[in-house]
């Protein structure tokens, strides 16, 4: 064996011991009267699992309570086995967890669990989304009325639309409030998740008109299009006032970072 490969080989053996339990490396570990090679190796093997388990536990407290101890352990050991970390930061270790739950032979029977997990991850990603100033409530009125028809919105980078097919967000809320969660049931809904001005993550349900408006602004549509959309929902007579109310509320909530008549597309993250 060439010199340059022995370090590599040892590292492959160590990774195999952590990931698959293959203990070939013990032949190359010195034991002593305190601990033999297997015992020494097992410190790393259990440390590896404990560390990842802790990340899942910290990132997904609601999922953890919802599943209860036994199912949580089943999920944790399955996930650690199936999905080693490909990230430099543990912050991302659970990014593939919703996908894992959606495809795992056991958990895929309960699709609301993957959805609840996805929701919990969206909250985390809004939490450390990029910073951007939010437009003040008065911004709109300060802009000359003649440019209003061309105005577009730039949403705050933390803003996401979360579409659910089950009552998973209600389940999340109940668990969070330490109440009995409702039984899972199909229930299409749409939620806006964002980070507020105190840098805390919030969410609220988005009624159909708001959803359509968010989509429309997201595509780069301007106020003229938004007013037409609003008219189809509430009628011509109250469309302008209705749209203005919605925009003022969005400004108040800190959803909007900029009102502009330029045409660079805004950025909105959509999760389904």
């Amino acid at each position: 064996m060439s010199h340059s490969t022995s370090l590599h080989l040892r590292q492959q053996q160590m990774m195999a011991a952590l990931l698959t339990g293959d203990e070939t490396i013990t032949e190359h570990i010195a034991g002593d009267h305190n601990l033999n090679a297997e015992q020494r190796l097992s410190i790393y093997q259990s440390g590896y699992r404990l560390r990842l388990r802790e990340v899942i536990d910290n990132d997904h407290p609601v999922l953890g309570s919802y599943l209860g101890d036994d199912l949580f352990e089943q999920m944790v050991s399955g996930y650690i086995e199936a999905v080693p970390s490909r990230y430099r930061s543990l912050r991302h270790y659970c990014d593939p967890l919703p996908d894992y739950l959606q495809h795992d032979s056991f958990f895929s029977q309960y699709p609301h669990i993957a959805e609840l997990t996805k929701f919990e991850r969206c909250l985390l990603s809004s939490f450390d989304a990029p910073d951007r100033d939010t437009a003040a409530v008065g911004t709109l009125q300060q802009l000359p009325a003649e440019i209003w028809p061309q105005l577009q919105l730039r949403f705050h980078p933390s803003l996401q639309l979360f579409t659910s097919h089950y009552n998973s967000v209600e389940i999340w809320q109940a668990i969070r409030a330490e109440q009995r969660p409702p039984d899972p049931t199909p229930q299409p809904a749409c939620w806006v998740i964002w980070r507020n001005r105190e840098r805390l993550t919030e969410f609220r349900s988005a009624p159909p008109l708001e959803q359509r408006l968010i989509h429309s602004f997201f595509q780069g549509d301007n106020f003229t299009t938004a007013a037409e959309l609003t008219a189809t929902e509430v009628g011509e007579a109250t469309a302008a006032a209705g749209l203005l109310n919605i925009l003022l509320r969005w400004l108040e909530l800190g959803w909007i970072s900029q009102l502009t008549d330029e045409t660079t597309p805004p950025n909105l993250k959509e999760v389904e």
Binding site: Q11, M15, A30, Y48, L52, L90, D128, A129, R199
Partner: protein, 287 residues
């Protein structure tokens, strides 16, 4: 003048963000875990910048994987460089270890075999990193639970040699020396006495879990007496070296850590000579 001596610091932890800003504790500097702030924005970044206004900082990384036989992660290094531009740390450190292979991260600080091959390999990579980052790196000794049968030298010989060849600096973790001395039955004092004093820029102090037959580096306890004793010996040998306490689990209120840091200050005050200004100076530099 020893302009590397920052005094006595703590690791900056999420639980203490608000207390640090509001109470401005008597801590000379903070060490941040680089990976925890490699996010786009939000609360951690806000506090990082706000606290940085009031305290010097150093950056400490856990996933450079210097000893790994997979290629260096260029993207990680670029993100680290960006963060360093933001934070303007006094220095930047990572570990004498490897953390993963073939794209998979163990998120553990895995020890190297102490061989010529390993020295060549890791020293070469440290030089590459220093080139990329445009600064000298501090390299920290890790706690370990295994030693490889092919090791041809002691950990301290290996550590010294890597640091000389890579022309980097040392972050000496006093607790890790203690932990490894127990796990591998070597004399911690011998370790300290073998380290080249010219390279040492920072000390880590921490607590661990003692299982009798072995000791695990858990950072979830107060610092124990043998580690304080070793710290005394380190001060005698290395003089005034920037010292900080790492606490990562079972994290107590900030004031409790500030009190623990006072123990370090008191120990140092009894050992290190002072300048006329009252500031501690390194013994070696007075000679």
């Amino acid at each position: 003048m020893n302009d590397h001596f920052l005094g006595f610091g703590l690791g900056l932890r999420t639980q203490h963000f608000n207390d640090v800003l509001e109470t401005r504790p008597d801590v000379d500097w903070f060490e941040i875990i680089s990976e925890n702030f490699m996010v786009a924005g939000g609360k951690p970044k806000y506090y990082l910048h706000a606290i940085r206004e009031h305290y010097p900082m150093v950056m400490h990384g856990v996933s450079m994987s210097l000893g790994s036989t997979e290629p260096l992660d260029k993207e990680y290094l670029q993100r680290l460089k960006l963060l360093a531009n933001e934070v303007q740390p006094r220095w930047l450190s990572d570990h004498l270890c490897w953390t993963g292979l073939e794209g998979i991260n163990s998120h553990d600080l895995l020890p190297m075999p102490y061989t010529e091959e390993a020295i060549d390999h890791i020293a070469g990579r440290i030089m590459q990193v220093q080139e990329t980052l445009g600064r000298q790196l501090l390299l920290e000794n890790v706690s370990s639970y295994i030693s490889y049968t092919e090791s041809a030298m002691s950990e301290w010989e290996f550590y010294n040699e890597v640091v000389e060849r890579a022309d980097c600096l040392m972050l000496l973790d006093i607790n890790n020396i203690y932990v490894s001395s127990r796990n591998h039955s070597f004399d911690a004092q011998t370790y300290l006495n073998s380290i080249n004093p010219d390279r040492v820029r920072q000390f880590h102090l921490a607590g661990h879990s003692d299982y009798g037959t072995h000791v695990i580096d858990t950072h979830d306890h107060d610092i124990c007496d043998p580690v304080w004793e070793l710290y005394r010996q380190a001060l005698h040998r290395f003089g005034a070296v920037s010292t900080m306490i790492e606490r990562d689990d079972n994290i107590p209120p900030l004031n409790q850590l500030v009190e623990e840091l006072q123990i370090a200050r008191d120990i140092a005050a009894g050992i290190l000579p002072r300048q006329p200004s009252g500031k501690l100076v390194a013994e070696r530099e007075v000679r």
